[in-house]
Symmetry: C2
Subunit: 353 residues, 2 copies
Amino acid sequence: MAGIHDVAKMAGVSASTVSNVINGRAGKMRAETRQRVLEAIEALKFTPNSAARQLKSGHNTTIGLIIPSVANPFWGAIAHQIEQATRKRGYRLLICNAERDPEVEQSYAETLIGSGVMGVILGSSPLNFDHLKDLIARGLQVAAFDQRARESGSGVACSVSVDQELGGLLSAQHLIGHGHRRIGILTGPVRTNSRIGRVEGVRIAHARAGIPFDESLLWQGGGVSGFGDMQGAELGRIGVRELLSRENPPSAIVCGNDMFAIGAYAGARDLGVSIPEELSIVGFDDIALSELVFPPLTTIRQPTAAMAEMVVDLLIHCLEEVGAPREDNFVNIRPQLIVRGSTGPARRRPNRE
Amino acid sequence: MAGIHDVAKMAGVSASTVSNVINGRAGKMRAETRQRVLEAIEALKFTPNSAARQLKSGHNTTIGLIIPSVANPFWGAIAHQIEQATRKRGYRLLICNAERDPEVEQSYAETLIGSGVMGVILGSSPLNFDHLKDLIARGLQVAAFDQRARESGSGVACSVSVDQELGGLLSAQHLIGHGHRRIGILTGPVRTNSRIGRVEGVRIAHARAGIPFDESLLWQGGGVSGFGDMQGAELGRIGVRELLSRENPPSAIVCGNDMFAIGAYAGARDLGVSIPEELSIVGFDDIALSELVFPPLTTIRQPTAAMAEMVVDLLIHCLEEVGAPREDNFVNIRPQLIVRGSTGPARRRPNRE
DNA sequence: GATCTATGGTGTATCGTAACACCAACTGAT
DNA sequence: ATCAGTTGGTGTTACGATACACCATAGATC
């Protein structure tokens, strides 16, 4: 492996000059010298050793992304968009899978900080950031994605999120507007701020319409320890079957995300229940698939491309200008209800009682 | 940020001893000393700086994964499984999105090598590895995933892949067995070895059955420059509409992957064509979604979990034992036909001629 | 009592780069 | 002729962890 000195020797200059060439300080030398150095770099296939580089400069241009699961297309798409946004700004992205497990998250964050990363985007929407407090104290900048980091006490530098509560509200209002009175919820464990917000929105919609929300219709799948991110669709399938087998089943279901909804399609089919005639379903996220399944899924759209650009912008800003976080570092975006074919008027319910 | 010296000072030992503690050379010191060091590490929240560490040792325990697109659930799942396998072996994984673009691939590979990564798993199945030749010459170990690296001239260290040709063969044979005589193919540009293999398999099945393969039914979407990995489903939708609008449309379609197939479902629906009664569809990959869509998708299963373990094993082996690559570093796995509901007997075709 | 050998450490060079303080040579003005 | 300013560099040091050679002390052996 060629080092900067080899290049310097070949070009007949000092290592410092080579360093200057590499780092674009073109004004510091003659064009001719620069050319010679460039040729030597080319000839020796020299790549600056980033370990050494960041050892000296103390930081690097990599940011980390910690998400629940790349296996969920929503997070896959997000990762993809964040990666693009990151690359456009001259940074690189390190993607980590943490399954929402605080320990794994912490371990990855430590790994990241150890490799010089100073900024991390966290997609898991945890209830608190205690597990990262030490890291934050050591200078790690954390951007929360998927929840608004309200109390500045958390130490989070910035956040970008859809207004989860509004999303839940919109989906439930849409259903209520169609005459649905018993609305179920299918979600992973309601132990993250994003899910809490969504469920709360559904409750508020009920309250506003003067309809009681039956807590027994809140189905949470994903086990005691897990969060059901990997197997969202499978859980949706199971959950819907369970809800529909009840005494007094719901006529509509709000899903924690689109994968749950797609699983719910399968579960409803298993039972011979047709959508939207007998059961209305609303998703959340608006992944690309939502439009392709049948019936096309009514869902809450998160403008992920714009959000990706935004977090990356905010985080890099926090990284480069070490000012105190301002209030507008915490962005809340209005989600949008996309009405497609999976929701319809509530049919007269065969009154069993 | 605490360094090793701060820890050393606090524990009243030298930096060397701290280093020994960190690196598990427990025999080198008294248990009591070790304990003191450990406590100091804890108190100072010390994380070894991996940049400095790998500067000295020259390498690190990170491997890279370069895939076409995390936005495709197949690759998302693969990334997830490779990440798990990697972590189990004490390595970390750097995931990169390269869209099959040789230039982006090369740039990421350079970035990776610059950050000390010595092994990369490549999922893009390119026709050749010329763009990585220089990097390989500089010591980068490349594992090909999704294609068998036949000629050792490529410099690839190992490979794990499903037998693509066999996959194509199985899917086409299944359809031919159901009486289909006009079989279409829906795929991204046939400019990667994996796709070439799959298509070739379909051709072979035709040849064996003595049926001519109509080349005009090979639909390739994804543009001249792109590879159609991000928008597979969208392309499948467009492609199927195009094929079905022909004079003499196919009665069955083999799809390049499951996302194409799912898109094809939507396209067929757009045209009011029912699956499998009027059109049979076979996918490739067997992603989790395949079982959930309706009708459940007949597809070719790639045993991704096992394959992920295998590549990681092989690559780490190549990394650690610097022996010459043996023949069994190149694994070819038999894919499996999973028959579900999207394929059925060919109906009598309304003979338009 | 002298020497040997574990045991349990320490001191320091080293990795490849960047930052920073220099400096040589030339130009043009006085 | 002298000086200031500019251009185009050079030399040295520091970054943080590690490997390796080295060393101090205690107890064992002759």
